[in-house]
Amino acid sequence: MNLKITASVLALSLTLATACFAGPREDLLGRYAAEAKAADPAFAGLSAARGETLHKKKFAGGKPDTPSCTSCHGSDPRSAGRSPTGKTIEPVAISVTPTRYTDSAKVEKWFKRNCNEVLGRECTPGEKGDWLSYVMSR
């Protein structure tokens, strides 16, 4: 009996802890998912696999010298990239650069610039969430 109570209290506190410690990245993912769902009721959730496809896809709508995310970030998310001015870009994968994506304004700023340059338009909330899921899983 006592053991059962202890177990459920433990389970409850763990759940609470997880909810409380959901960081800014999780908040951001939640926001993108909600926005995607609002735009399309059939939206079934964010996908890291779709994010990877997006990351590696070549687009024709943006700037000719940056057809893909990988043009600057490189094809391996765990390796550093290089900006056209020769500056090193920290790897996009959070396993290597754990400080990334904790400032939502900064994330939005770069999505805006980079989607415009690569895709020639802003990214949808679903695309942003997919991509973020991808780099968070690497």
Partner: protein, 163 residues
């Protein structure tokens, strides 16, 4: 009385020589442009390239540049209005024709508000100083662009642009 001329002559020569050397060191100081010290400017400009010293361009250039960040030399560098404003104020206050003047005199030679370019690499003095750099060096994979000061000026981040 027998005055020992030799030590005096040697002293005079060494003084003269060090004066020349010192002057050259100061001339090297003419290649000094105080680096950006404002944290937001450093962070935002430095995210893509070396945060160029405000003394390298006149206020007019900084103002026009900051007014069109969406088309920043072919790149989208857009920022929210408050951040852009903060950066503009710093760049203008320390521009080559305001507080940064004592460092930028030679670089801005022949530049007036009317003909001020947006590219530092189009300043007449810049062009003259780099005239001996061959084309292949600019195209080298470690250089890539004329905006990559650090490829050759290894101390540029600290403000020194000697050879």
């Amino acid at each position: 009385m027998n005055i020992p001329y030799r030590p005096f002559a040697l002293a005079a020569i060494s003084l003269a020589l060090s004066a020349v050397v010192f002057q050259r060191a100061q001339a090297g100081g003419g290649h000094y442009y105080p680096p950006v010290s404002e944290p937001v400017v450093k962070e935002e400009c430095g995210a893509c390239h070396l945060p160029f010293a405000p003394a390298m361009l006149p206020a007019k250039s900084w103002q026009s540049m900051m007014g069109d960040l969406k088309n920043h030399f072919g790149d989208d560098a857009s920022l929210d209005a408050a951040t852009a404003d903060r950066i503009t104020r710093y760049l203008v206050a320390n521009a080559g024709d305001s507080a940064g003047q004592r460092y930028s005199g030679k670089l801005l030679a022949g530049v007036t508000a009317g003909n001020a370019p947006l590219r530092i690499t189009e300043l007449p003095k810049w062009v003259r100083e780099h005239r001996k750099v061959p084309d292949w060096e600019w195209k080298h994979k470690d250089v890539g662009t004329k905006a990559n000061c650090l490829a050759c000026h290894t101390d540029a981040a600290r403000g020194y642009y000697d050879e």
